[in-house]
Amino acid sequence: MSPRREVAQVAPGDALPPVHHEIQRPDLVKYAGASGDFNPIHWNEKFAKEVGLPDVIAHGMFTMAEAIRVVTDWAGDPGAVVEYGVRFTKPVVVPNDDEGATIEVSGKVAVKLDDNTVRVDLVAMSAGQKVLGMSRAVVRLA
């Protein structure tokens, strides 16, 4: 995490350092345990296919957690996030192999708001598809 970022240092259009996450099946099991979300579409391949999915998919909330790290790392403070919202547009498919899936997240300062806050717009991609839409955070900087 960087030192606390100051609002005077940022401008609309600034790009946040992107992050790249690799996810494999065991990560989904760990996240299911930690979050309490045991929906079988996130670990049971037979069930996932029966309900029409191509394979096991990551929890949308897992992707949402990965995406906000772009913002907290940049802001230098987990307490800086004032609002955070996403729409889940496409699932992140996690095949049962050594490669799994990757999520690439990038962000840009969209606008400066009142009270030292800025809005950041995020883009999260996996397998060439946008997995989060309308993905935005409002952060209070130093």
Binding site: D27, M61, A65, P78, G79, E83, G85, F88
Partner: protein, 160 residues
Amino acid sequence: MPLNRALLGKEYPPVRYEVGREKLREFAESVGETDPIYHDEEAARAAGHPDIPAVPTFPIVLTRRVGQKVYDDPELGLDYSRVVHGEQEFSYHRPIFAGDRLLAAGRVVAVEVKGRHELLAVETRVITETGEPVCSAVVTLIARGTAQPPAGDGTSGAPA
């Protein structure tokens, strides 16, 4: 079977949640967050926090429990096997910290038809036991194919 619109605005009794350091550490690790601020109370205090902060999506642990009370309400008529997570929003007064004793209460804030599908939104407000606001969340679920077909089209009303 369509959702029961009469539940719009229904409030549910609060769920209690005690925030422990080990759970926050486990959750942070599960999303790959290894920064010491989320694991080490000394690092958290050096950064000005009273104890280890939760990562920003941690409130989902509480909101999932609150949501379950709504989804399981027999009066709602929700078929969970048809549900996908559509949207998620959080707004924060402050982070959740280890040691917090929280109350989380849910309210149905939207029940809508979107073509063949339906949308259900549940808001959760999280406060401490002493009434301090902490955060709130809105989960929007899409129930696929559960909308009541238009009257007079000859179908039986069963989902496609």
